[in-house]
């Protein structure tokens, strides 16, 4: 049926129109550059907006009327970080971004993506803790400061109270590693394992930058690393630690909460962000209570295996540097109460421990937790945490370490051979990176 105009499109006209449309669309796609909106601050972070960031942003809007902040959430994995890196170097409108994990931090800073906020920090007395170079909580290079940690991520030991009571173990408040070993051996019974993995013994003993000697060489020949591999392999063989073959086959590294809730093991070394699983009875139903203990000490060494993290940074290319700094300052000083929902304990902010505890443990805290044990461990013990600042070949060395750890804990390679391979590979990587 001809169209109302009485003229029909010939094949040639149709083809021409199709080609023109395609060309126009392609051209439009290629040439579209989103103009930067000067009234809107673009913030990219890894926490879902509803777990705290949106509440912080709403308060910021109240305090700074006329400003607008848009929050974009990215998933903190390889793919998510690639997206952020591509966006940052590609000129996408990002003013403030959060970085998780030291390798990403160095890469972004070394590439000039992060603005220097050293002068601004020095001009703000409330942010004095970021000037501490002995116990660094910021990325400091001379006078330059390019990243500020927003949270403390202490490690803690969680107990399945039912299994602890059944094994007749007293809840520890301070304990040595030998006592810890006794406890996990006692918990390993009747088809249950003591724990998933040991806390990192080398970290407890050596603290920050433990992979490197003071001269910058590989430190994996330090006996602490071998002791960790050796003891873990022995405990896997004994059936005290969760079998590593199962952990690998079922890819459990990212899903440890599932097997803790399934009561496969009685003691779990983790961080506050894992507590959200324990308050979610719909997704993770369980009928046991959880208590908390500090990370054990080792021969007088007491570094916590946790760290400072979730670094806030300003894009050096942002045309809204002043507003971006106001937002960073606001986040550092005012977000504490809101981000606890995501299990984040802020470094700063006028929030007392009880409020933080209530935020982290949720509304029905008494139902799921021994609240006193969490209060004591998280706020009274003041664990010593670290921030690695020696970062040569950090990601590559981590990979080599994990590869050898896997074959060692699968009981395919001796701990001594595995650690020797890590040491050799790490030194080769350090040498190569220094050549570059």
């Amino acid at each position: 049926m001809p169209p109302a105009s009485g003229r029909s499109l010939s094949r040639r006209q149709f083809a021409g129109a199709l080609g023109a449309a395609t060309g126009a669309a392609a051209f439009a796609g290629c040439s579209s550059t989103s103009a930067k909106d000067m009234d809107t601050l673009q913030v990219w972070g890894g926490i879902p907006a509803e777990s705290g960031p949106q509440a912080v942003i709403d308060k910021f809007h109240e305090q700074y009327p006329g400003t607008h902040v848009t929050y974009t959430r990215y998933v903190n994995d390889d793919r998510g970080n690639l997206k952020v890196n591509t966006a940052l170097q590609g000129g996408v409108d990002i003013d403030v971004f959060f970085t998780y994990g030291v390798p990403n931090l160095t890469m972004r800073v070394d590439s000039g993506l992060a603005a220097d906020v050293g002068d601004l920090v020095r001009a703000t007395p409330e942010l004095e803790i970021f000037l501490d170079t002995e116990d660094p909580k910021a990325l400091i290079d001379g006078d330059e400061i390019t990243a500020l940690a927003t949270t403390r991520i202490p490690q803690m030991v969680l107990f399945n109270e039912s299994l602890r009571e059944r094994a007749g173990i007293e809840l520890p408040t301070q304990w040595t590693f030998e006592e810890y070993l006794e406890v996990i051996r006692a918990l390993a019974d009747d088809g249950k394992y003591g724990t998933y993995v040991l806390p990192d013994l080398a970290r407890i003993e050596l603290g920050p930058n433990y992979r490197f000697t003071p001269e910058g060489d590989s430190n994996f020949s330090h006996p602490a690393f071998l002791r960790h591999f050796d003891l873990a392999a022995e405990l896997i063989r004994e059936g005290v630690l969760y079998p590593w073959s199962q952990a690998l086959a079922r890819q459990l590294e990212a899903y440890q909460q599932n097997i803790f809730i399934a009561e496969d093991f009685g003691l779990w070394t983790t961080a506050p962000y894992s507590l959200r699983f324990l308050t979610d009875q719909e997704e993770y139903p369980h009928d046991f209570k959880v208590a908390c203990a500090p990370v054990p000490t080792l021969d007088g060494h007491d570094w916590n295996t946790g760290e400072y993290g979730a670094f806030i940074q300003i894009n050096s290319k942002s045309p809204k540097q002043e507003l971006a700094w106001e937002f960073c300052k606001f986040w550092l000083l005012e977000s504490a109460q809101d981000v606890v929902k995501a299990g984040y304990i802020s470094l700063l902010g006028e929030v007392d421990d009880e409020q933080l505890l209530a935020g982290i443990l949720g509304e029905d805290a008494e139902q799921f937790f021994d609240v006193d044990s969490f209060r004591r461990t998280l706020f009274e013990d003041e664990p010593r945490m670290h921030l690695d600042t020696e970062l040569t070949a950090y990601t590559e060395i981590t990979q080599k370490y994990e590869q050898q750890r896997d074959v060692c804990w699968l009981l395919e390679r001796s701990p001594a051979a595995a650690i020797e391979a890590v040491d050799k590979n790490a030194q080769a990587l350090i040498d190569r990176f220094e050549e570059d």
């Binding site: 080609g19 395609t22 890469m107 000039g112 590869q403 050898q404 395919e412």
Partner: protein
């Protein structure tokens, strides 16, 4: 009575002598070139090939002579000459990955061909439900890689997996740990690869078998040749071009396997399933060494291309034709 011209437009008599004169059509004759419309038709494909094949290809070649971490932007690209290639040949992980790739493709490809051919020979007979069986064997080839990965991960779970449970029923001891063992992970990966690719080989072999010269079989039968003699003297030579085609396409495809490795083993345990393509991914998207990863990619490409050429040359003149 009006004469109705039923000829199809554009199918006119090329000699111009037959029949009555037709009214002259406006516009170009079909044989005349219409370059703009033609280009417009193929423009989307041309743009796609340019954007997703040629530009990345040229970029990889150029990047292989540079040091670049992507995050530093285009301004951070630093020309390093042949340094990346020298580093590739000195890199023990590259050589290890090369050995793993050769083992993986070197075992998976021939076994896929054997399984595909065996299935094709069986399904070329007049079996009940033949169509259904053909479809069933082809399905693994078109199933999504994520589904394949997850299913086989469950089947080959060393503890609760169905495969080990069945082996246990038959009294097997010291059961394989499959993906949870650096000794078994590669064989397990080969097993899954054969399962997913054999349907493709089967389909291609089936179509080739149906083109096999029937008169030769007839002659062989009259001469008293048995099945094995017929297969050796007629079937196999007539399948040789198909076999080489499959050998090349499967070798290229399997040696580039990435999704299954990323999903199931992530290159481990240890580095037991880190093939060259997975090493390239690690180097670029985990370590952000794009220049070096490009050099690894280029060396891999040249290697695969050389093997492919050798395969083509080896089969020249050996095929059986009608």
């Amino acid at each position: 009575m009006a004469i109705v011209d039923t000829r199809i437009e554009g199918a006119g008599d090329p000699t111009g002598v037959a029949g009555a004169r037709r009214p002259r059509r406006r516009g170009r004759a079909p044989s005349e070139p219409r370059p703009y419309v033609g280009w417009l038709f193929i423009a989307p494909n041309v743009l796609g090939v340019l954007a997703f094949t040629f530009i990345p290809l040229i970029s990889v070649v150029l990047l292989s002579f540079t040091q670049w971490n992507l995050v530093s932007g285009f301004g951070g690209i630093e020309f390093v000459g042949l340094d990346n290639f020298i580093a590739v040949f000195r890199d023990p992980t590259f050589w290890r990955s090369l050995v793993i790739t050769i083992l993986y493709a070197g075992v998976a490809v021939p076994l896929t061909l054997v399984v595909g051919l065996a299935l094709a020979l069986a399904l070329n007979r007049d079996l009940p439900g033949r169509g259904l069986l053909r479809a069933a064997f082809f399905i693994p080839y078109i199933v999504n890689i994520v589904a394949i990965g997850m299913t086989w991960q469950m089947l080959l779970d060393p503890g609760a997996g169905l495969v080990n449970q069945v082996l246990g029923v038959f009294g097997a001891e010291d059961l394989p740990q499959w993906f949870a063992s650096s000794h078994w992970a590669l064989p397990a990966l080969i097993l899954v690869t054969i399962w997913s690719q054999a349907g493709y080989a089967n389909l291609i072999y089936l179509s080739a078998l149906q083109d096999a010269p029937a008169q030769l079989y007839e002659a062989a039968r009259i001469d008293g040749a048995g099945r094995w003699a017929s297969f050796r003297a007629i079937t196999w030579p007539s399948l040789l071009p198909t076999t080489v085609f499959l050998l090349v396409t499967l070798f290229v495809g399997i040696s580039q396997t990435f999704g299954m490795i990323a999903l199931i083993t992530n290159g481990g345990p240890g580095s037991s399933t880190t093939t060259l393509s997975f090493y390239m991914y690690q180097t670029s998207f985990q370590f952000y060494r794009f220049g070096y990863a490009s050099a690894v990619g280029l060396v891999t490409f040249i290697g695969i291309f050389a093997v492919m050429l050798l395969m083509w040359r080896a089969q020249r003149g050996r095929a059986l034709h009608d």
